[in-house]
Subunit: 414 residues, 2 copies
Amino acid sequence: MSPEIIFDPYTNLYSKATSLIKSSEVRDLMSVTGRSDVISFAGGLPFIGGLPSEDITAAMDTVIRESYTDAFQYGETEGRPPLKEMLVEVMAGEGLHCEPEHILVTTGSQQALDLLARIFINPGDTIIIEGPTYVGALAAFRPADPSFVTIPLDENGVVVDRLEELLKTSRVSRPKFVYVVPNFHNPGGVTMSEERRGRLVQLAEEFDLIIIEDNPYGLLRFEGEPLQTLASRDRRRVVYVGTLSKIISPGIRTGWALAPPPIFERIATLKQGADLCSPSLSQMFAEQYIRQGLWKKNLESLRPIYRSRRDAMLRALAEYFPEEATWTHPQGGLFIWVTLPAYVDTTKMLPLAILQKVAFVPGSAFFADGTGVNHMRLNFSFADEGSIDEGIKRLGKVINKEIRLCRALGLDTV
Amino acid sequence: MSPEIIFDPYTNLYSKATSLIKSSEVRDLMSVTGRSDVISFAGGLPFIGGLPSEDITAAMDTVIRESYTDAFQYGETEGRPPLKEMLVEVMAGEGLHCEPEHILVTTGSQQALDLLARIFINPGDTIIIEGPTYVGALAAFRPADPSFVTIPLDENGVVVDRLEELLKTSRVSRPKFVYVVPNFHNPGGVTMSEERRGRLVQLAEEFDLIIIEDNPYGLLRFEGEPLQTLASRDRRRVVYVGTLSKIISPGIRTGWALAPPPIFERIATLKQGADLCSPSLSQMFAEQYIRQGLWKKNLESLRPIYRSRRDAMLRALAEYFPEEATWTHPQGGLFIWVTLPAYVDTTKMLPLAILQKVAFVPGSAFFADGTGVNHMRLNFSFADEGSIDEGIKRLGKVINKEIRLCRALGLDTV
């Protein structure tokens, strides 16, 4: 918030929701990390330089030549049917088979999360999230004023045992939904195991829950075998949320929800008031980009780039980070999650890192209750290998210094 | 709503907001009026065929050639600064002078209305709207569960005397805001007089209110002199909402809010959770379209087309509609508002009109309380002159028949 609004003359006019939202640390950081001399592992930016500009031009030319009067006009609130047919093809790439009429196109998958929050959550309602969880999901859910219940992640994804225990002992009022990112978690970097996927869907059936499956990175797998989506196990219990942001482009803001018909209708009706429809221009561009097969070409070029950058980051972490640190080994996606000794507070460490011209996102941003202070999220998709090595080297120095300081002050035994 | 959801297994999971929203009649109509043999006056579609495709290609080529890695990447939540500079120029076209840093780019102006509703309205809060009002504003405001207070429109815009009376007698709890469309009202077709603009802003000052000024059509004036915007009279009291939908294209979903800094910050923070950012591709296209002066060329070509279509509709109304009907004479914009005898219900008449292959929006859609049943909104921007004449002829027959029927049944004396 800018200093000029310390004295806000409109304070008595705001809604309660206004007091629940806060600017995310990720966003506040953007302004600093946009400085070109800072090596930023803070964003969640896909690598766009790999999109061939001639492919973009080819797809856009087709749109303008064949149908610019549609591309520049209002479209259906639910999204354009020809794009939906292409999204069926995209989901089939992960073994999820569905019908176009159950797909609702949204303005990025972020909008799907916002609309889902609003159709399900009354103030005080329990919802289940992972810890850590996607910071944008917290931003989407918070204005609806839910009671967050956090289930931890481990290397096999969300700890389903803990969820089961919670549901069976009825320690919480009946949750409205469980929100999960099963593949290459943001920020966790981990993937939910096959066995846990099966049990999660069983629990949803047993306790009459909705699962929101957010899968932005599933197609960005660069090793191991793909696992079955939750939605393909149970279409009645799972609302699947997808996006083209990581496989084509975030600048077109094209996401979607795959939902059972009654939920679909309610999202669509709320979307009318939210933005009428998603951009036709983006939808038709995406349709052509997929129809012409360019998306597969792009994916095939992205995977080895991301794999190589992940490897560079894993090598650098092993070399420069202290032995007290641990981190995840993602098989895809964009992020690595680092765990430091419990006495280190990464939020306090961030300004020191920025002074050393390197940035990350502190762990507490990914927990509803602000815990997780000894973690950090590192993005490996945007910086090149050389910058990754240099950035992790700088960050390692900052961490080592911080650990030495904590020890000198006796904070490591608290 | 589709028939399959009569038995909805998720009923006990929905929020209260879900029960407040309803699919707009405008949207439900879209599916019918998309049939090519129906002459539709129902939509609010601008005429896109007038956009020169070579201009679109020119602007898009510049975007892809000069900066595709930005156009296809995430952007700032508040919008891209170079676009904001262009929007300053657009607003200056109506005599509204402002600074780019007070402009927040939204996904269509519809999103600005949605975010404003959410930052101001607690359930039960009073808000003031015009009667009739923009149907999309009702869709944006309803999920926040306000208490709507309606002030009527006449040929000089909202009846400010009635607002003053209401505020002075304290018959309602203090309103959070007043929502108005001062120029070429949708659906009313009327323009707020200079004198009323002055008094409205004075009342806002006196009673410590916010005014939301929604101005999508101001630059589409084809006769008479432009009037000063409310925002240029008082930037502290007025949140101005603009859009490129009617002057360039709705398919790019590019709108904005011009707001005092504390309100700006709150909209921006909520927007992060709503869709992270508006499409960079659209923003950069719009920036180029304005920078290259193409928007002015487009406006200059649109105005005579719309004027000619309005004239065709006014001529046809005079020729085919019964003498009991009255209608507004807009000096710009896209809509004419028709008033029929009080005993005519246009919602009931709509299916008969569609059987005769002509469509309109029934008046009740534009009132929070479902009154206004003897009105209809007619759009004159999308159909050509020949279709307008034929469509109004068909509609005149339907109305005449309905009036004769009501008289035969003695309903006209009720």
